[in-house]
């Protein structure tokens, strides 16, 4: 199976199917991240489609420097969320078509309860992070809600890794107990 680097290079040369493969691989991670950031189902759905459309538009000048497209896509997600209205105006027709797809749940009742439950948790859970100043919020959101390593977060945001760490430290000081405790998952990367 082609890896992200190969798919991205094919996409860069205009291969829409390779781009589709990347979408299948990363759409949920991007949407999940957008959902945490916005706590808004439709907003996250729109933002996700916009992220990929923006990635396609800018593909010729974007390169992957790690083996995964996730840092690149989540980096774009950050910009899209910052300028959501402006980015989405460009793609309104495609976004309309995506909105019309909707979901076809297998078990309506169980699905509805699970969805309500999850929405509730997203709304309450992300509250503290969403209140942080933007610079800290973006670093902490990627730290908490994506599987990116410190290096990949630095890549996604175009920051030195030291800045990622210092912003996390500031967010930790500001949030105290409310800081998402992901120490275990990041510990192994410290040796990098």
């Amino acid at each position: 199976m082609a890896d992200d680097l190969q798919l991205w290079e094919r996409a860069r040369s205009g291969d829409a199917e390779a781009f589709g493969d990347l979408y299948e691989r990363h759409a949920r991670a991007v949407q999940s991240y957008c959902l945490w950031r916005t706590a808004n189902l439709q907003g996250a759905e729109d933002a996700t489609a916009t992220v990929f459309l923006e990635a396609w538009r800018k593909r010729r000048r974007l390169t992957l420097s790690t083996g995964s497209a996730a840092p690149l896509l989540l980096g774009i997600a950050n910009n899209v969320l910052r300028h959501q209205w402006r980015s989405q105006r460009r793609y309104r027709e495609t976004l309309e078509r995506v909105r019309n797809i909707g979901q076809v749940p297998a078990d309506l009742e169980a699905e509805a309860i699970a969805r309500l439950d999850a929405i509730q948790r997203v709304r309450i859970g992300g509250e503290s992070i969403r209140r942080l100043p933007r610079r800290e919020r973006e670093v902490l959101a990627l730290f908490a809600w994506s599987d990116l390593s410190y290096g990949e977060i630095a890549e996604a945001l175009g920051l030195p890794i030291g800045t990622v760490r210092s912003r996390l430290a500031r967010a930790r000081a500001r949030l105290g107990e409310a800081f998402p405790d992901l120490t275990e998952t990041r510990e192994a990367e410290e040796v990098l």
Partner: protein, 526 residues
């Protein structure tokens, strides 16, 4: 407390939903983005109005060299935000000229970018050269930059921030007058024997209107324009490209002078200095000089596509104390082999390795020169005159000195013949003989190349303290190595580097025609 492990899957599309959305997206992008609104980004183009009489290019000019060890990505260029504002544009070639114009325009620099086929250049009378005064001091006019790897353009304020040491060109939008713009053009070009070649870029600040590029033959130095001498063909050389399904295999060792900044950051964004960089060697730097050796294997198919394999060989500092300091720091790898930045594997003996597919610098024309090369004279004086006749209608019987413009151009062309992937020993002997006849080119007996092999050398000075040196086998006339040498470190602005140090040396270790892109000829060694 935020529960970041919350399962959001009930809120996300299921497999069928993802596939349905994928179909919409693929349809939208595959149709050329039919619903995209016109791009709000202003693509700035230089006005295309008539320019007056030709103006001599008497502006600041310099010969620079790209940063070595660039990212092998086949992308044409990449834009990164610079810390504190501005952007850094890493240019791997100028193929995506309009995209690069747009990126420069977005950063505040009006530019006209042109990418030309090998052996072509733009007619320089199409614009009026100008000079930009930089707020931080100094002027920016124009330069010719060549090499493999990456051309780095930094765009942003140069007023307070220190200029980017990594960049080949620092541009400050605030310093450009409204009538000034940037003209950038280039073409693929062989470089220092690099099997993949490289490209040459001309950049120049212009004022007033800039006409579109009119491609003309490059004045000299391009193998693509090797003349076929009149009356040639009495004895044709047998030069055969790889057949269908076959590959030309070449193995070289490249020794590149780089500086290690012992106090520099080991990681960071690409725009920030790392431990190793060629550009940190200079008057403003405290970097410790080292020769970084890379083994490069290239399999080139008939259509110019390549498979490439690069292995980091040795990092040898010029001074033992520096070597110890580097080893004590944990022997951090050069940028091109930093696994935080690149896809780096390990070979059987644990050396860092990179593999990728690309294409040769001449693309599908890789072997197009063979018919021309087959017809070149194999007698030194006849070969030189064949080359010089094309440059100048008045044929010179005596060779022009290497220090003259014509002599230097002849020498470069002879070197390019020697660097051709497929030649004959008779043609190589003629090229070496013709070089040796040029006044100012010195023959040295019994020297060793970068792989420790014995041979004879030809060396000559060029400009700014730099020169050329080739080592060849005097029996077979095989080219063993060629190098760009710092003959005068002070003039070359590499203080602290001993005179005679190779800035970049390419050692030819073997070549041959093979039947697969994983096969090596039996004599190529390892």
């Amino acid at each position: 407390m935020t529960d970041s492990k919350t399962d959001l899957s009930p809120l996300l599309p299921d497999d069928a939903g993802v596939k349905a959305r994928r179909a919409v997206l693929v349809d939208a992008v595959g149709s050329g983005g039919r619903d995209s609104q016109p791009s709000p980004r202003w693509r700035r183009r230089a006005p295309r109005l008539a320019v007056g009489a030709a103006v001599a290019l008497a502006v600041l000019a310099a010969v620079l060299v790209f940063r070595a060890g660039g990212d092998p990505t086949p992308a044409a260029f990449a834009v990164e935000q610079r810390q504190g504002g501005g952007v850094t544009i890493q240019v791997y070639n100028l193929e995506e000229a309009s995209g690069l114009e747009e990126a420069l325009g977005d950063a505040g620099i009006r530019a006209q970018v042109t990418w030309l086929p090998p052996g072509r250049t733009c007619d320089e009378t199409r614009f009026t050269p100008s000079v930009v005064k930089l707020p931080g001091g100094g002027n920016l006019g124009g330069a010719v930059i060549s090499g493999p790897g990456t051309l780095t353009i930094s765009v942003g304020s140069t007023k307070s921030a220190r200029r980017s040491l990594l960049a080949n060109i620092n541009l400050d939008p605030a310093a450009f007058r409204p009538d000034q713009s940037l003209v950038l053009y280039g073409s693929p070009k062989p470089f220092g024997g690099a099997p993949k070649g490289g490209f040459e870029a001309h950049f120049q600040v212009a004022e007033g209107p800039v006409l579109p590029c009119t491609p003309v033959a490059a004045p000299a130095g391009s193998v693509g324009s090797i003349p076929v001498p009149q009356g040639a063909g009495a004895k044709l050389l047998d030069l055969t490209p790889p057949g269908p399904g076959q590959f030309l295999y070449t193995k070289t060792k490249v020794l590149q002078l780089q500086g290690w900044d012992a106090d520099g950051p080991g990681a960071g964004t690409k725009a920030d200095p790392r431990y190793f960089t060629a550009n940190l060697l200079g008057p403003e730097s405290n970097a410790l000089p080292a020769r970084v050796a890379t083994l490069e294997e290239v399999w080139t198919a008939r259509d110019g596509t390549t498979r490439e394999r690069e292995t980091l060989d040795r990092v040898e500092f010029l001074f033992p104390a520096d070597q110890e300091r580097w080893e004590e720091a944990g022997s951090p790898p050069p940028f091109a082999y930093d696994s935080a930045e690149h896809q780096v594997k390990r070979d059987g003996s644990g050396r860092p390795l990179k593999e990728y597919a690309s294409r040769s610098w001449r693309g599908s024309h890789e072997f197009a020169n063979l018919p021309k090369l087959s017809k070149l004279p194999t007698e030194p004086q006849a070969l030189r005159q064949a080359i010089e006749n094309q440059q100048d209608a008045g044929s010179a019987t005596d060779p022009a000195p290497a220090s003259s413009e014509r002599g230097a151009a002849t020498a470069e062309r002879l070197l390019e013949i020697l660097g051709e992937p497929i030649t004959s020993s008779a043609l190589r002997a003629a090229a070496i003989g013709a070089l040796a006849e040029i006044p100012g080119i010195e023959l040295e007996r019994d020297v060793v190349d970068g792989a420790g092999r014995g041979g004879d050398a030809l060396a000559w000075n060029r400009e700014r303290g730099f020169g050329r040196r080739i080592v060849f086998d005097p029996r077979s006339f095989d080219l063993l190595s060629e190098a760009e040498v710092i003959f005068n470190a002070q003039a070359a602005e590499y203080p602290g580097v001993p005179d005679g140090t190779a800035y970049r040396e390419t050692v030819y270790l073997g070549s041959g025609i093979v039947d697969s892109d994983h096969e090596r000829p039996s004599h190529a060694g390892h």
